[in-house]
């Protein structure tokens, strides 16, 4: 087939139209997403779901999205007035030793359910009593760390929402990736979510000699790890057949 001569400007016009056209079609189809912050996670009742609280959210965002007074958000994390309302939760994690995004999720959920009020003090301030639970079977490396009072998972139905909030299924099934907490260690993720340590380390881009017994909140400071990324990676692994 012999090539047909065309106006030279057809070339750039086609490229511009293809690019802008794809954007237009994606917008029309509701697929155009330029940020993970565009959407608020809603629960079954159509209300903002505290599970959708992310590290990039500021205290003001949490207050606005979930209808808590700003003072209640401050009380929930035990922050003083010196903390600005436009500070992101993930930035606060490095400032307040006991602060975790997962705790904020639980605290907001507890507030909305009437199980916590600002008068109760910072949410999850007191560690729960240790509960001895056998780790679930795992295809990965054997757990090498004994549970301590700091990070012992609570048994089914024993959690009161004031500790790590971590609930280990009693039936031996693995813990879903979405329930991973920042205060868990990598080894705990391996043990409870039944994900091989090597896989986890590789997928998270961590050095092979990373301390598996360090909390993920500590690894966050060291390697820029985000707990949500760990959840995503584990969820993806668990979704594999």
């Amino acid at each position: 087939m012999k090539p047909i001569r065309v106006n030279k400007l057809v070339m750039p016009v086609v490229v511009v139209v293809a690019l802008l056209g794809s954007v237009w079609v994606a917008k029309a189809a509701g697929l155009w997403q330029t940020s993970g912050r565009d959407q608020v996670l809603l629960d079954e009742g159509g209300q903002p779901d505290p599970a959708g609280i992310k590290g990039w959210m500021t205290l003001q965002d949490v207050s606005d999205t979930y209808g808590l007074p700003l003072d209640a958000v401050y009380a929930l994390i035990g922050a003083g007035d010196e903390v600005p309302a436009d500070m992101a939760l993930k930035d606060l994690e490095s400032l307040l030793p006991d602060m975790e995004v997962s705790l904020v999720r639980e605290g907001v959920a507890a507030y909305l359910a009437g199980a916590w009020s600002p008068e109760d003090g910072p949410y999850g301030a007191e560690a729960p009593a240790a509960v001895e639970i056998e780790p679930t079977p795992t295809p990965g490396p054997e757990p090498t760390v004994a549970p301590t009072a700091e990070h012992v998972p609570q048994g089914q139905g024993q959690g009161d929402g004031s500790g790590s909030g971590f609930v280990l299924p009693q039936d031996g099934s693995r813990v879903p990736g979405a329930e991973i907490k920042g205060r868990m260690t990598l080894q705990e993720v391996v043990d409870y979510c039944q994900v091989p340590l090597d896989y986890l380390v590789a997928e998270l881009g961590l050095p092979p000699d990373v301390d598996a017994h360090a909390r993920m909140s500590e690894l966050a400071g060291q390697f820029g790890l985000e707990v949500q990324t760990v959840r995503d990676v584990v969820t993806a692994y668990q979704a594999q057949p």
């Binding site: 087939m1 012999k2 090539p3 047909i4 001569r5 065309v6 106006n7 030279k8 400007l9 057809v10 070339m11 750039p12 086609v14 490229v15 511009v16 293809a18 690019l19 802008l20 056209g21 794809s22 954007v23 994606a26 697929l31 155009w32 997403q33 330029t34 940020s35 993970g36 912050r37 565009d38 436009d86 590789a202 997928e203 998270l204 881009g205 985000e226 990324t229 995503d232 990676v233 993806a236 979704a239």
Partner: protein
């Protein structure tokens, strides 16, 4: 006399090249304004320029496909959409994205203009070395994609000169201790582009690697007519990516950025034209030519 005519006269550009500069300016301003708003307007969650990069779509594609819809950090659905738009555009019309849309390409054109104004010498890379260096784009592409898959992070973001410059982090969050590798790479590329035309595009751009590969399939190509061409090679001089247009047989290289400067420079009507028609990939073309011989 229209405004266009006046601009043409002042800038000494043809109508097509003026249109190209205005298009580049438009897309460049869009990116700069988006970046400024992202940095300055904190009350809204405005998109960062990461969301407007087609290469982010290629970087996140593997993760998106293998994880059931998850993205590498800093990438979003918009990256995939732009990557798809780019693929369609390249298959239809080759690398005109680089010559007309890419803000980093526009910046390099601006640096070339600065070089001319300052009367700095242009470094001519010997043809053989130039050919070898162009493989740097494919190496960069392979390395970046591998690192992204292996780390599940937008690994290249910490070094990407386009991101370093256009995210305006150097203006709003300057941190030499933390970001010195990114600043060093960006400064190196800017310095290189000041003396070598389209330095980044020719030798290092990973997106250019993708476009160059796909460009072999493009339907719209600049083609040289062996019957009309007298081999004066006037068309070679203005090419920003130093393609040997005069030796095109018949379609010019898939590295072409579609700037159309060669077409405009050609003194022989019909010798160099934009044409529509399928072009066989070089491997198949070579086989066909050999059979014909």
């Amino acid at each position: 006399m229209t405004v266009i005519d006046q601009l043409q006269g002042k800038l000494g550009l043809s109508r097509t090249q003026l249109l190209r500069r205005l298009t580049q300016l438009g897309f460049g301003l869009f990116v700069v304004i988006s970046s400024l708003r992202h940095n300055l307007v904190t009350s809204e969650h405005l998109a960062s320029i990461d969301a407007y990069c087609p290469f982010g779509g290629f970087a996140t594609l593997y993760r998106w496909l293998t994880s059931g819809g998850l993205y590498v950090q800093k990438t979003h659905g918009s990256n995939l959409v732009l990557a798809l738009g780019l693929i369609v555009g390249v298959i239809l019309a080759g690398g005109a994205f680089c010559g007309w849309i890419c803000p980093f390409g526009a910046l390099q054109d601006l640096l070339d203009w600065v070089r001319k104004v300052l009367r700095l010498p242009e470094l001519k890379v010997p043809a053989r070395l130039d050919r070898i260096l162009t493989y740097g784009r494919y190496l960069a592409l392979a390395g970046i994609l591998y690192a992204t898959v292996a780390t599940v992070k937008l690994w290249f973001a910490d070094y990407d000169p386009y991101r370093t410059i256009f995210s305006l982090g150097w203006l709003f969050e300057f941190n030499l201790a933390e970001h010195w590798p990114a600043y060093a790479v960006a400064l190196g590329i800017v310095a290189g582009s000041l003396f070598v035309r389209r330095f980044w595009c020719r030798y290092l751009c990973p997106l250019g690697g993708v476009i160059s590969i796909l460009g072999n399939l493009s339907l719209l190509r600049i083609r040289r007519s062996a019957d009309d061409c007298k081999g004066c090679a006037v068309c070679n001089a203005p090419c920003p990516v130093k393609i040997d247009v005069a030796a095109a047989n018949p379609a010019v290289s898939a590295d072409c950025i579609g700037c159309l400067e060669c077409v405009e420079a050609c003194p022989r009507p019909g010798a160099l034209e934009v044409t529509l028609g399928p072009t066989l990939p070089p491997i198949l073309r070579r086989g066909r030519e050999e059979r014909a011989l």
